[in-house]
Every structure is written in structure tokens, then in C-alpha cells.
């Protein structure tokens, strides 16, 4: 699980071009949107693409997507249960 979280953080940094950030700067449980990393709606689309491209996960329900994208931990949990790649 820890390996998955580290990989996920690296993928988030690369995909969202979070310049100057390292995986150590992202708290596992901090909110990704709003007060945490301060991501916005376009970032959420990019994260959906990241999940589909790297893990074969397609989230159709927006409410479910909101829960999945709450934090790195919630994303990692969901990936572990639903990954196809």
C-alpha cells in the first residue's frame, strides 16, 4: 500500500505539473482540493484520466468520483479494490 501511495503521488505531481513538489510534500490524508493541495476542477478531470490510463479505472458517477479523489489515501484504497491494470 505504501508503494502504491508513493507511485500515485509521483503520478499526480507529473500529471498536474506540480512544479517544485516532491511526494514527501503531499500528506496521505490531506484534501487534494480546496485547502490541501489547492487543486481545481480541471485537475479533477486530469486525475480521472490518470486513474483510467494507469489503472484501467473508469469512474462514471460524479458523486463516487468526489469521494475517490478526496485524498491520496482514498485514491489508493479505491485503486487497490478496483484496478484492472
Amino acid at each position: 500500500m505504501e508503494d502504491l501511495k508513493l507511485t500515485l503521488k509521483q503520478q499526480i505531481i507529473e500529471s498536474l505539473n506540480l512544479q517544485g513538489m516532491t511526494p514527501a510534500d503531499i500528506d496521505d490524508n490531506a484534501p487534494l482540493f480546496g485547502e490541501g493541495l489547492g487543486l481545481d476542477s480541471i485537475d479533477s478531470l486530469e486525475l480521472m484520466v490518470l486513474l483510467e490510463r494507469n489503472y484501467g479505472i473508469k469512474i462514471e458517477d460524479a458523486r463516487e468520483g468526489r469521494k475517490v479523489l478526496e485524498s491520496v489515501s482514498s485514491m489508493a484504497d479505491y485503486i487497490q479494490q478496483h484496478r484492472k491494470i
Binding site: 498536474l16 505539473n17 506540480l18 512544479q19 481545481d40 478531470l45 484520466v49 483510467e52 490510463r53
Partner: protein, 355 residues
């Protein structure tokens, strides 16, 4: 139509035009046929959260627009009107490349969203909280001219003092350069950019890019110059260019003896050099003849660099040697003609009058 006036101007170009105090004192050149913009510190002008997603063209356009507003001392314009010949080439190339590579699945939305032509305008409107008129013209070699004409028409329709942010931006990518090399756009062999005009007997030019913005108003007070006339020509020959210049001068009760300076857009290509023949020989000893594409390269909206350069010449009343083809004996710089031709056979003529 009544003239409109430029109160401030900013340009990002291959030269040090964005922040340097002197005008074209240290000159950059290139030996590979490409003149890329000298990047500025874009983080000074763009929201730090948004900048990470932006392509170079977006950063160039937004920063130049914001810098122009700063120079004019305006927080929000009455409208934003721009021109771009090609828009966000890099974002479009990445998006199309991904479509092939990923078989049209899981495509990143950012490149699609920001590859649209009006991205720069949208961001400028958000950053300046401008809810007014917002338009982007994509008319290849006439893109900036259309934006200026639109601003002029809007400003002529009202008696209220209004100021529009008008500008242009175009980027060059390696792929674009490669594609256009197959259409004989570029010189072979490649000369040093500063020697471009020494090779005007062979086909081709050098590639370039840039962004320039202007605050354009209908109130003459505290402005640099007036745009008296804007003419656009498609597929002109030398005679049509000469006739149009005569017509413009006549309409404004001027003759060629009254023109202090001509800014020529010759690009070193032998196919288009005859268009400038009369300008190079027909003006009197009074008129200075200058050229600029050895400093910027050829691109759709290069008239924007010429217009920015004209505003600097009006302010400084001195012509740098690096742009001078013929030094005139005029006492000051008051009436300026810009004559520019783009590689796709579109040409424009602008008459400016210093205030």
C-alpha cells in the same frame, strides 16, 4: 473613421524587448533559421496555481497583456481584442499526438481546453475581471490588423472614453518549422539571422514568434500615437501596394515627403522582395527606411512587433542602427508607415501619427 490612440505597449520577442531599458542595444541572433522568444519571468504576471498548466504561448500572451495594462495604469480594460495566426500550436500538437498514441482514449483535457484560440483572451479577462467585449481573430497574416480594425470601429461608435486591450501572439514549434520547410518557407542554406537581408536574392525566410499588446483608446490625451489608417490587402502586387500607400496618404492630406519613417516587413525572401522595391527607392531623402524581421523572424502577427517598435521610436525619437536601411534627414519622428507582408500573400499598411 476617426483615429484611435495607443496609450501603452508591451512586446515579448526574440530580442530583449520586454524589460530592457534601452531599445535593441543587445541584439540576439540565430544560426538555425529559428528565432524563439526571449522568455520573461512569467510568474510575475500569472496566478501561480494556473501557470503550471499553461503552455509557453499562453504564458507569453497573458504576461504581455498584463504588462501592457501595468504600463497603462489600468486594472481592467473595457474589452479585450486579439489576433493570432496559429493559436496554441504546442498544445494542439500534444493533443493530436496523444490521440494517435492513445488510440483516442484517456486524453488529457488540459491540452484540448487550452489549445483553443481564445484561451489567452479568456485568461486575461479572468485575471483583469473584464466582463466586456472579448474577441479573438484568427485570420493568418491579417489577425492583428482585424483586431485593430475591430477596436477602431468600436471606439468610433461611442463618445465615452473607452480603452481596449488589443494584442497578438504566435508561437513557433519545431514541428511547425519542419512542416513549413516542406513548403519552402525557410532559407536553405540558413544564414545568420542578422544577415537575412544580404540573402534577399534567394527563396525563403527565417521562422519567428512573438507577442505584443496595446491599450487602444478614443481619447488622444496622454497617448503615444494615433492609428490613422489600417489597410489590408490579399495577394497584392507591387503596384497595388504603391497605389494603396498613395491612397492612404492622399486621404490624410499627406504626401511621401511628409513620411518620416517607413517600417518594412521584408523577410529576405526573393519572391516577395519586389513588393518593397518602390519603398526602398521611391521615398525622398527625408524618409528613414527600416526593417525588423532579421530580429523577429517571420510569423503571422509580426505587424504587432512593428507597431510596438513604432511606439518606442515615437517615445525615444531615435532610430537604432540595427533596423536602419536608409537614414533619413527628418528632424523628428511624426508620421510613420508600417508596410508588412506575410508569407501567405497577405499584406497590411498602417499609418501612424505621433502625439
Amino acid at each position: 473613421m476617426n483615429p484611435v490612440y495607443i496609450s501603452a505597449a508591451a512586446a515579448l520577442s526574440p530580442q530583449y524587448t520586454f524589460e530592457a531599458e534601452g531599445l535593441l542595444q543587445d541584439v540576439r541572433s540565430s544560426d538555425n533559421g529559428k528565432l524563439f522568444v526571449t522568455d520573461a519571468d512569467y510568474s510575475k504576471f500569472i496566478n501561480p496555481v494556473a501557470i503550471r498548466r499553461m503552455s509557453r504561448l499562453l504564458k507569453m500572451g497573458i504576461s504581455t497583456g498584463m504588462k501592457c495594462m501595468q504600463l497603462a495604469g489600468i486594472r481592467s480594460p473595457d474589452g479585450i481584442i486579439t489576433g493570432t495566426g496559429r493559436g496554441s500550436m504546442r498544445d494542439m500538437e500534444i493533443f493530436l499526438g496523444d490521440m494517435i498514441r492513445l488510440k483516442e482514449e484517456t486524453l488529457n483535457p488540459t491540452y484540448f481546453i487550452q489549445s483553443t484560440y481564445n484561451s489567452v483572451n479568456g485568461w486575461l479577462a479572468m485575471q483583469t475581471k473584464c466582463n466586456g467585449y472579448n474577441q479573438t481573430y484568427v485570420h493568418r497574416g491579417h489577425s492583428l490588423e482585424m483586431a485593430l480594425l475591430d477596436a477602431q470601429m468600436l471606439l468610433n461608435e461611442t463618445n465615452e472614453r473607452k480603452t481596449y486591450l488589443v494584442g497578438a501572439f504566435d508561437e513557433m514549434t519545431d514541428e511547425y518549422f519542419l512542416v513549413k520547410s516542406k513548403k519552402a518557407y525557410w532559407k536553405k542554406p540558413v544564414p545568420n539571422s542578422l544577415d537575412l537581408f544580404k540573402h534577399s536574392d534567394t527563396k525563403g525566410s527565417i521562422g519567428g514568434e512573438g507577442a505584443a499588446f496595446f491599450t487602444v483608446t478614443n481619447d488622444k490625451e496622454n497617448t503615444i500615437c494615433g492609428i490613422e489608417d489600417i489597410r489590408m490587402l490579399q495577394d497584392p502586387d507591387e503596384n497595388e501596394i504603391n497605389r494603396t500607400i498613395e491612397n492612404v496618404l492622399q486621404r490624410h492630406h499627406l504626401n511621401i515627403k511628409n513620411i518620416d519613417l517607413v517600417l518594412c516587413g521584408m523577410n529576405g525572401d526573393s519572391r516577395f522582395q519586389p513588393l518593397y522595391a518602390n519603398i526602398l527607392t521611391g521615398f525622398t531623402a527625408r524618409t528613414s527606411i527600416t526593417a525588423f524581421k532579421h530580429l523577429t523572424g517571420e510569423y503571422d502577427t509580426s505587424t504587432s512587433f512593428a507597431l510596438w517598435l513604432a511606439t518606442e521610436l515615437f517615445k525615444r525619437q531615435e532610430i537604432p542602427e540595427i533596423i536602419t536601411l536608409k537614414k533619413g534627414i527628418h528632424s523628428d519622428i511624426k508620421n510613420v508607415l508600417i508596410v508588412n507582408h506575410y508569407i501567405l500573400n497577405s499584406a497590411s499598411i498602417l499609418l501612424l501619427k505621433g502625439n
